[in-house]
Symmetry: C2
Subunit: 205 residues, 2 copies
């Protein structure tokens, strides 16, 4: 299999775990391939509007690998959320880049309020999507999605896959890894990141 | 309660999710406080040896907030792991800084192979600790810990708390949040990051 190009869009105010979780999953795929004696299977890049440090929602500063202008096609696009997504949803440059990339991409995905960008940009218009629990009503009110699903970790509609809030991106990225490669491959990635989660004070209500 | 200083040590080859997971948990604590009408409760910083971009284990580039020289005391120290931890375990500057900080810190914590640094530097010598499943034997062979515990998400021994691999740092940071504030506070953080995990291909064997 050829190496898969995976681009994660980042912007000021992007929520840290929204992109760092899937980044870990996708890049761990290369570790798994290496242990199997194979070449890297994923080329994972952080893509921003400009070549400047991104200041994330909680203050972490991250350097993008590429600008949107340097990236014309991707196999997988991931759009995370965060406070900054409320600004990017009105950024024509971001929306047109997402729309352009989505046309040729095999998979177009979002985490958290990244779903607002996927609907505003077009790819998720008329699709079933989900988002962070506190933005379900906001996304519904925009009226762009066919349905805004609650209480699911991720929702697939064709090649559009949207995850719920923040940490749900990890589950979505693992699921996608299983679809692209195999469930066994995804389980090996999961084992590499020792993802056998046990929230210490129980599940959410 | 006074704001708690939380420092996360980062270094070239640090595993991305090892520190980004706890970072999300600790900084989300401030969001929760804000929603309660309170001031920030955590001052969370990424601390490196030098003021240079850190190239993480899987290639993400992150800017540190402070150098070790700029940080003399912390309430909470978190030492993540990753390939680079195998180098840092022989870095006298890192080990002596960790030892110095640990003397006054309320909590001294590690994620993944960060446990090697905590034992090598001294704070976790003679303590019960855990690490990434693939490094249990390595840590045992070093002979510094009193016991290297398997198959636990995190292990507490006094004020030393070590988490298992990569994603286990999220569970450990949530647990610590509950100890520092309250289980209810930690559950609200958990809800903010929608951490109701559901690995798509089942739990690990």
């Amino acid at each position: 299999m050829a190496v898969l190009s995976i681009g994660i869009f980042i912007f000021d105010g992007v929520e840290e775990l929204d992109f760092a979780g899937p980044w870990e999953v996708f890049t761990m795929g290369n570790e798994v391939a290496k242990h199997m004696g194979r070449k890297p299977v994923h080329d994972v890049r952080l893509i921003a509007e400009r070549h400047q440090p991104i200041v994330c929602a909680k203050g972490m500063r991250v350097l993008p690998d590429l600008t949107m202008g340097q990236c014309a096609t991707l196999d997988v696009l991931l759009v995370p959320g965060g406070q900054g997504a409320r600004r990017e949803v009105d950024n024509p440059a971001a929306l047109s880049w997402i729309a352009h990339i989505a046309k040729e991409a095999k998979w177009v995905t979002s985490v958290c309020t990244g779903a607002l960008l996927l609907t505003a940009a077009g790819p998720a218009k008329g699709k079933r999507v989900t988002t962070h629990w506190s933005f379900i009503d906001t996304l519904r009110a925009r009226g762009e999605a066919a349905e805004v699903v609650e209480r699911q970790r991720y929702v697939q509609d064709g090649n559009i896959v949207s995850a719920a809030g923040v940490s749900a991106g990890i589950d979505m990225a693992l699921w996608l890894t299983g679809q692209i490669h195999s469930p066994d491959f995804a389980r090996t990635v999961q084992r590499g990141m020792e993802y056998d989660p046990a929230p210490p004070y129980g599940s959410q209500a």
